[in-house]
Symmetry: C2
Subunit: 219 residues, 2 copies
DNA sequence: CTACTATTAGTACCAGCTCTTAATAGCAGA
DNA sequence: TCTGCTATTAAGAGCTGGTACTAATAGTAG
């Protein structure tokens, strides 16, 4: 333990006691035990992954080598690897979230007739507590499909009547099937049924407002 | 048009034609002119920002030094800086999307009675074409509030009857107000009205399934 | 023949590491 | 008190992917 140089060879009891209190003070204020430090290290890096070993060493008042040993023991990669992995997940996210214009992946589309999309329920879609998909994701898939099916410049949802018939869980694949039921001048009624392995999970009737570019209704 | 520097002031037709054939030949085989290469370099790095100078040098069959000169001229930062900036935007995204448990910010909550949340419509919520908020976001805010208002272990949406009364645009702040209308053994009916500056934009009646931990209905 | 561009090479230096060897302090048990 | 152990620190070589600078060379235009 980092004894200051002027104390390194001292052995008198008096001086030892002074050192003891000094150490206690240190622990209370700044220095932690190995376990504590490693726990904090893990959290610190998780929160601010861009921190260098040197900065960590300062933060915990230990040497850079100690930080490196700690990382080794906790198998925490070096700064550059951490940054890289953050950047990679970002790129993955961008690719995996073609949140662009349609929620879910459209696998069939007959404009103004019918459409099918699939959505794989992942961790980010579910309530953390019970792993049940949050309603609005299933709704979003259906609503999105109802928008996509409209063969017009503009398509907005005006009304919807929906029913969640059974909860969807993480890992399940929701297949949404949309069908145009009725079309009038400005409105199209689209029925969407969603299934998980042929079992109905969601049913919705969407009244869609079409075309005319700018409008006072829909969203 | 990308004329190399040594031709920039040239005006003779003859030389121009020679240049043309020269360029064609080169383009067919491998090496490109400086300008062409730099243009491609810029695109390549944009597409795959994780590429090193060495890999780029191989790709364009030039030396690493040439790539570095190119980057310098185009003011493209080094690999590590590129990765870092990608990673930084990722962290920003995560912070900007507290998709956690409630969509929108709850500003008032009386369990089993009433609740209010606000949601600021940003670029990521709207259709790119017309800047109108995609329906499911407004729905998500309302649905989320309906879930939050339920004073029970489990709350799932079973049915919903919704109406979008006017489109919401980017920059607008949606205030959702939820009120419990009716409560029976397992069901609670919540009415949610959303406004932008006191103007109604959305109205929904949510039938919520409560408690009993695991269930066959809802989502 | 000269001026100039484009390219390549080489050197020194840097951050932020890895991996290895070694020294030292403090403590517990025989 | 000596011995072994853990925790910490240090020192040194090597790596990657660069920056910054100097210099040499090939090719071309005028």
């Amino acid at each position: 333990m980092a004894l200051p140089a002027f104390l390194r060879t001292a052995s008198s009891l008096a001086i030892f006691l002074i050192y003891e209190t000094f150490v206690w003070k240190k622990e209370e204020t700044m220095k932690k035990s190995k376990k504590e430090r490693q726990e904090l290290l893990r959290e610190t890096i998780k929160l601010t992954p861009f921190i260098t070993d040197e900065e960590l060493a300062e933060k915990f008042s230990v040497s850079v080598q100690t930080i490196r040993l700690d990382r080794l023991e906790l198998s925490i990669p070096e700064l550059r690897e951490r940054i890289k992995s953050v950047a990679e997940t970002k790129l993955d996210d961008v690719k995996a979230l073609p949140l662009e214009e349609v929620i879910g992946e459209i696998i069939d589309l007959q404009l103004d007739e019918s459409a099918i999309s699939i959505l794989d329920i992942k961790e980010e879609h579910v309530f953390s507590r019970n792993k049940i998909a949050r309603g609005h994701h299933v709704f979003a898939q259906a609503n999105s499909l109802a928008v996509a099916i409209i063969n017009d410049e503009l398509a907005l949802t005006a009304k919807a009547n929906i029913r969640f018939s059974r909860p969807v869980r993480v890992g399940e694949r929701v297949v949404a099937k949309a069908k145009v039921k009725e079309t009038s001048q400005e409105r199209t009624i689209v029925e969407v049924n969603s299934y998980v392995e042929n079992e109905p999970v969601f049913k919705g009737e969407f009244t869609m407002y079409r075309s005319a570019q700018d409008t006072k209704e829909g969203s």
